[in-house]
């Protein structure tokens, strides 16, 4: 059968299955079965069995449930309150005051929990009422939260980077190193925008309470931040130093967060078992998607579609910059309807050979992909952070999306920066090679 006809049938089947609401993981498996049937492969079932086994036992994937569990434990501690109380006095002098608390606590919480929508929910539940009480501009309060809620995708340990690393077969340690600087840069961009906005809208500065912090308050505040700093330092430090694999660092993180919850008195047996069930639910969801994606990648290899696509792109004579511009728009549109994980696994199954062939570094591409997925988290109609904040505030989703728009633009700026200066992402991983 002609390969473009196969491609057409597959795209049609995919759209039908996705739109009608078939589970993403099963859609991926189903597409792979259809693809193999179309090329009359005779051992589909055997391929499925062996591919499911190798996909679900990958050592690099073992970090995934552990980081998820660590996040689930931390969501049930006082960590988010401590962050808020610790950061508020320190940031009180910056134009925008507590708006920066939104940004930084999301950034820091994301760095320890690895999850995006849950970060926005945990931080927002606490900061939004407080910001409202002190009379902050509502749109900025929601916008900073929606924007920085996406930071969890990029700042290591990021779940989505693990998924990309496993699916694209690149080192997760390197991806974590590559995500660090762009993540910090994005925090910087968000804060810079907030400062500029606050300077331009001085009349919206109504917060008097933040003026009254004394030096002693700041010292007490710093003490509240100490456990978090130790936890981040321990987890990320041990990976970056090369003394622990991401999996081992994650296991240490689980132990550390359990310890933290016991020491701060928020540990309970009910909370503990809820954290396990929560971790099981997310891990199984992601695990089955990866099993499906692995099988789809295999099937696509048999059909030859990705290579065909790569050859076609090569014939168009696109420069890699042009390719990236097209891909950015493609991913943003895709992200309007699919969640981030699905975008990532579909990309690695189909687009990756094309990307590798045009000379784009796969580590860099992972960071780029995650940035575009971050944008898609705050674009309607399907944007998970929008859903979370919608349910927190009761605001219309379009209102939330509009409030988040400046931060959407800041992520776009970050994509432009890492495209012009790839070293923002690639400098830290390159240090690892030299050692």
């Amino acid at each position: 059968m002609d390969i473009s006809l196969i491609g057409f049938i597959l795209v049609a089947a995919m759209l039908l299955m996705l739109v009608s609401g078939i589970w993403i993981a099963l859609t991926l498996t189903g597409l792979a079965i259809i693809a193999l049937l179309l090329i009359e492969n005779s051992s589909i079932g055997l391929l499925l069995g062996t591919s499911s086994w190798s996909a679900s036992t990958a050592w690099s994937l073992t970090a995934l449930p552990l980081f998820i569990w660590m996040g689930e434990i931390l969501f049930r501690t006082r960590l988010s309150e401590d962050l808020f109380q610790g950061l508020s006095p320190i940031l009180a002098k910056l134009p925008g005051k507590l708006l920066h608390v939104n940004i930084l606590s999301c950034g820091i919480f994301a760095a320890v929990s690895g999850s995006s929508a849950a970060t926005a929910a945990t931080i927002g539940r606490m900061t939004l009422p407080e910001l409202k009480r002190r009379g902050y501009n509502e749109s900025m309060a929601i916008g900073t939260l929606a924007g920085s809620g996406t930071l969890g995708l990029l700042i290591p340990p990021s779940i989505i980077l693990i998924v990309y690393g496993v699916a694209a077969e690149v080192s997760i340690t390197r991806l974590f190193l590559a995500g660090a600087l762009p993540g910090l840069m994005l925090v910087g961009l968000f804060m810079a925008y907030t400062i500029v906005w606050s300077l331009l809208n001085k009349d919206s500065d109504v917060d008097q309470e933040s003026e009254q912090y004394t030096f002693a308050d700041k010292i007490i505040a710093l003490k509240k931040l100490l456990p978090i700093i130790i936890l981040i330092g321990g987890v990320l430090g041990s990976i970056y130093q090369g003394v622990a694999t991401p999996t081992e660092a994650a296991a240490l993180g689980v132990t550390g967060s359990l310890l933290l919850s016991v020491l701060t008195g928020s540990f309970s047996l009910a909370g503990f078992s809820q954290s396990i069930l929560g971790a099981v639910k997310s891990s199984c969801m992601l695990g089955l998607i990866l099993v499906g994606a692995h099988f789809l990648t295999l099937a696509m290899g048999f059909v030859g579609l990705p290579n065909e696509l790569a050859a076609w792109i090569a014939k168009q004579g696109l420069s890699s910059i042009e390719l990236i511009i097209y891909l950015t728009f493609f991913f943003i549109i895709l992200g309007c309807f699919l969640d981030g994980i699905s975008v990532v696994v579909l990309t690695t199954s189909i687009v990756l050979p094309m990307v590798a062939q045009s000379g784009i570094d796969l580590i860099w591409f992972g960071i780029f992909l995650v940035l575009t997925v971050e944008m898609s988290q705050i674009t309607p109609p399907v944007g998970f952070n929008l859903f979370v904040i919608q349910s927190l505030t009761g605001k219309n989703i379009l209102y939330v999306a509009k409030a988040a728009l400046p931060f959407f633009m800041m992520i776009a700026v970050a994509i432009v920066i890492i495209t012009i200066f790839p070293d923002v992402a690639l400098y830290l991983p390159s240090l690892m090679t030299q050692n």
Binding site: W23, G49, S115, A244, V280
Partner: protein
């Protein structure tokens, strides 16, 4: 019947949950062992096998709690009668794919047992034994979908739909 049903999903959840705890303990002991200069043989392979057990054992529980993600944006806009029909279609296709998965993962495990294959790790274990959770979990996912179908035929709303409709943002 309801009691068996509840037991089934609790078993799925805690089957996966206990493997998660076991995996964490294994990796912690691997770190501790390395610090004191001992090597735990094949610990990375065992961690991988436990991972597979976590993923597959928990599938049924995750499904029943609306945990497996899907695109619901079109679905939520249909009228309730039309939505009902589409859900039947989804469950039918879902049963087809998960049934296929269940049959062939079980077949893979069966073959591993028949040919008495051993793992190529330092500690050689029968592959069929460590692959067993994959087959059991896939079959349980199929059963969970069958369960939802039977609930829908009986005229009630399956749990996965009601769980999706009030998404707990704490995940």
């Amino acid at each position: 019947m309801d009691k068996i049903r509840r037991l089934f999903y609790v078993a799925s959840a805690w089957g996966a949950g206990s493997c998660l705890i076991a995996m964490t303990l294994l990796i912690i002991s691997q770190i501790v062992a390395r610090l004191i200069g001992v090597v735990i043989p094949s610990s990375e392979d065992f961690a991988g096998w436990l991972l597979s057990a976590i993923i597959f054992f928990g599938l049924a529980y995750t499904f029943n709690n609306g945990g497996h993600i899907r695109v619901t944006i079109a679905l939520s806009r249909f009228s309730s009668r039309y939505r009902h029909l589409v859900e039947y279609f989804n469950l039918a296709i879902g049963l087809l794919i998960s049934g296929y998965l269940a049959y062939y993962t079980a077949f893979t495990v069966y073959e591993s047992f028949v040919y008495e294959e051993l793992t190529d790790t330092y500690l050689a274990v029968p592959i069929g034994f460590v692959q067993l959770p994959m087959a059991i979990g896939s079959i349980c996912l199929f059963l969970a979908m069958l369960d939802s179908l039977s609930i829908m035929i009986a005229g009630r709303v399956p749990n996965y739909i009601s769980a999706e409709d009030n998404i707990d943002i704490e995940g």
